[in-house]
């Protein structure tokens, strides 16, 4: 009998006083399903954060490009132009959505996981710049995109929540 069996038995007796069952009491299938759902939720929110950040910045950039110079017009007229600009309002809304996605991710995923993965918005923005705005993208930038992609792949290879992962790995 392995050494940790005694500890597991103790944990099982102690857990009888808990109102919610610990991880080991749930069936293996249920745990796999929960993990799958959690991964899907994380992936969905990361996708939402990256796309809302990239498209939000794209719309803000297009909108600001169509604005006159700040000093060239009166403050009232400038504000009117800002509020009636068809690109700035959706751009600001997407930026707000990005904040909600990022803060929601922080409620279950690690900071050291979320921040580098969201940096993939640089990749999306570069692709949008090249293929939607038809900008000339230099070789150095593509090299940067490659490095970011490799970094994001490495970070995504780790569990999103290390504390939860450590608890699930613990037999108790």
């Amino acid at each position: 009998m392995p050494e940790w069996c005694g500890e597991v038995a103790l944990c099982r007796w102690a857990s009888l006083w808990q109102t919610t069952p610990p991880n080991w009491q749930r069936s293996k299938g249920r745990r796999v399903a929960d993990k799958h759902a959690s991964s899907l939720k994380t992936a969905g929110f990361l996708f939402g954060a990256v796309t809302s950040n990239s498209f939000g910045n794209l719309l803000l950039a297009i909108g600001m490009d169509r604005m006159p110079d700040f000093g060239a017009t009166g403050l009232g007229h400038y504000l009117h132009l800002l509020l009636t600009n068809h690109y700035l309002i959706p751009g600001a809304a997407l930026s707000a959505a990005y904040m909600v996605f990022q803060l929601s991710l922080f409620s279950w995923a690690d900071l050291s996981f979320v921040v580098p993965v969201i940096a993939s918005s640089y990749v999306v923005t570069t692709v949008l710049s090249r293929f939607i705005l038809h900008e000339n993208v230099q070789t150095e930038r593509w090299l940067g995109v490659l490095l970011i992609t490799l970094g994001v792949i490495l970070v995504m290879g780790t569990p999103p929540n290390t504390k939860q992962y450590a608890q699930e790995s613990d037999p108790c």
Binding site: V100, S104, D110, Y122, E140
Partner: protein
């Protein structure tokens, strides 16, 4: 000297903002209900967390420090310097949030930082005028502009 102080303020305030937001969001439990009818409740739940409010204030300080930095130095120095926030964020995650950062994450963060430096540097040679917020926003806006 002022440039270094502003770089330090931009990076540290921005990372403090991220760490405070992450702490505020993680200590009060995972958000579960994201049904469209519950969005208002989710937003209210986020903006009433004290640490998140402090985090947003730190982000605001970082934003104004970046604007100040852009007024005293070249874009090609100011913007890449903010890419350091990825490394400082990870240090905060390791030593303040005790996340137990895996070596793969460290390598990933260094690759991402190097990639962002390359991306932003190659763009900054073209158009020196820029205003933006955090490193990600700055880089994204920058890449849209050049």
């Amino acid at each position: 000297m002022l440039t270094w102080l502003l770089i330090l303020l931009t990076v540290v305030a921005g990372s403090c903002g991220d760490v405070l937001c992450a702490k505020g969001m993680s200590t009060e439990g995972e958000l579960h209900d994201f049904h469209p009818s519950a969005i208002r409740r989710v937003v209210r739940s986020i903006i009433t967390r004290r640490l998140v409010i402090f985090g947003a204030l730190c982000d605001a300080v970082s934003f104004f420090a970046l604007l100040g930095l852009l007024s005293v130095t070249k874009l090609s120095i100011a913007v890449p310097a903010t890419a350091l926030s990825f490394v400082v964020d990870t240090l905060g995650a390791e030593f303040i949030l005790h996340e137990g950062v895996h070596w793969k994450r460290w390598v990933g963060v260094i690759l991402v930082t190097a990639g962002v430096l390359l991306t932003v540097q190659s763009g900054s040679h073209h158009k020196p005028e820029l205003s933006g917020t955090r490193a990600s926003t700055v880089g994204a806006v920058q890449s849209n502009q050049d």
